[in-house]
């Protein structure tokens, strides 16, 4: 159990140091960076994947793109992709790192948006057309609300991926909480490694809780069956 004692000592050393709470390498600054990079990558991925998923799901054309991207994203090693982009584009700005982050974040949202739209009960779709709605209206007022739980699931899975990849990206020079791990490991400062690791785990859990809340708030009561319809 000696590792447990060492573990707590490291946590006290890391979180108890007043210098850790200010400056560009302080916890607040690194936390904000991690949030910024993750949010930027996720937002770009949503902007690309949701319209594409809606289009493919609604028209039924290009399903191959969805299947291939999903399989490829799972098989591609994130670290390899990050190093490849940095070697290709240089490390002058954050973009060489943001591009692979976005590339890996797109497929989960794309697949789930596509599956969500495709899985809508055809009778429901026909009923909407029967009521005189046009293609765009059917999509916006019927298909998207019904598919929303799956679209949000895609975004949640993508967020998991992005938070993890942002951490790994510290290796290729990106800021964020991963810096504590990479820099601490390089200098054998295990208080920094352990403290940073705990922060990232907490960060990932908070993101999950926020997504669960978002799902409760945004999904229509009729779709989530919180409202009993007879």
């Amino acid at each position: 159990m000696s590792w447990l004692i060492a573990f707590f000592d490291w946590l006290v050393e890391f979180f108890g140091d007043p210098a850790r709470w200010s400056g560009p390498d302080g916890i607040p600054a690194r936390l904000l960076e991690h949030l910024e990079f993750s949010a930027l990558a996720l937002a770009l991925a949503v902007l690309i994947a949701v319209p594409l998923g809606l289009l493919i799901g609604h028209t039924g054309r290009g399903e191959v793109v969805v299947v291939v991207s999903a399989n490829l994203a799972r098989a591609l090693p994130t670290l390899g992709l990050l190093v490849m982009f940095v070697l290709l584009l240089g490390a002058a700005s954050v973009w060489p790192v943001i591009i692979p982050l976005v590339l890996l974040a797109v497929p989960p949202i794309l697949v789930n948006t596509f599956e969500g739209i495709k899985g809508v009960d055809p009778e429901l779709r026909d009923a909407a057309y029967g009521m005189g709605l046009r293609g765009g209206q059917v999509l916006g007022r019927v298909l998207v609300p019904v598919a929303l739980p799956l679209i949000l699931l895609g975004c949640r899975l993508s967020a998991i991926q992005v938070v993890a990849t942002t951490t790994v990206a510290a290796y290729t020079g990106l800021g964020g909480l991963g810096r504590f791990i990479i820099d601490g490991f390089a200098t054998k400062d295990y208080a920094r490694v352990v403290g940073g690791s705990v922060l990232i785990v907490l960060f990932a859990l908070v993101v999950q809780i926020l997504f669960a809340l978002a799902q409760r708030v945004t999904v229509s009561p009729g779709v989530s069956r919180r409202l009993k319809v007879r």
Partner: protein, 225 residues
């Protein structure tokens, strides 16, 4: 070094079997060990746990909640936290990957057993199958496609996730990426990515083949239709 950077084929030939621990061949073996062990281990653990969740329904909600949390935790910090317990060893990579695998496979086992039609279960009971024989000869075979679909996801993502272990010196082929980053050089990155994706494709293909062999009735039914 000769004049000019070597081509990718020259680089492979020169580094394939150097006799050192970081030859491509050794990295490939390490990579296979660190991905195959979690794949098999997660299946072995997820089967009984999934069965328990089906037998005692109240277990499923907390188990799947816990597995959702496990799945959301990034691998790198977990490797780092485990170092103080298991050291800079392959075990440090294998343990978290096993848990990620379980997070996918436990729901797959539960869904798979849930996909057994009720009339089939009742027929088996009526034919006098004991619960154990019913499970082994009827329910598990019917669950195979759903469980194997989960196992394909686990296999492919484990093979690619191992490479993150390179950041603690245990990444199999992933250490080609850290080597390439330290003395900026593209061939190792390309070789690493291609080999990892190829391994994932082979594993995926083998599991598809396994499914064909384990569920011959699916093809027979398609043939008649």
């Amino acid at each position: 070094m000769g004049d000019g950077p070597p081509s990718i084929w020259e680089w492979i030939a020169r580094n394939w079997d150097t006799g050192r621990v970081d030859s491509i061949r050794n990295l490939l073996t390490d990579h296979l060990t660190m991905s195959l062990v979690p794949i098999l281990l997660s299946l072995v653990v997820a089967l009984p746990l999934g069965l328990a969740c089906v037998r005692w329904r109240w277990l499923y909600q907390p188990t799947s909640g816990l597995m959702n949390i496990v799945y959301a935790i990034p691998s790198l910090p977990i490797f780092m936290l485990l170092i103080s317990v298991t050291g800079l060893s392959q075990t440090t990579v294998i343990i978290p990957l096993t848990f990620y695998g379980m997070a996918v496979l436990i729901p797959a086992v539960v869904d798979g057993l849930g996909s057994v039609p009720d009339h089939v279960r009742q027929s088996a009971v009526a034919m006098g199958f004991t619960p154990l024989r019913r499970l082994l000869a009827v329910e598990l075979p019917i669950a195979v496609p759903v469980v194997l679909a989960g196992l394909r996801v686990v296999a492919v993502s484990s093979i690619s996730l191992v490479s993150v272990g390179a950041l603690i010196g245990q990444g199999g082929l992933g250490s080609l990426f850290t080597r390439a980053y330290q003395n900026p050089f593209m061939p190792p990155v390309i070789v690493g990515i291609v080999l990892i994706v190829a391994l994932a494709l082979v594993a995926d293909g083998l599991l598809v083949l396994a499914q064909r062999l384990l569920t011959p009735w699916v093809r027979a039914r398609k043939g008649r239709a």
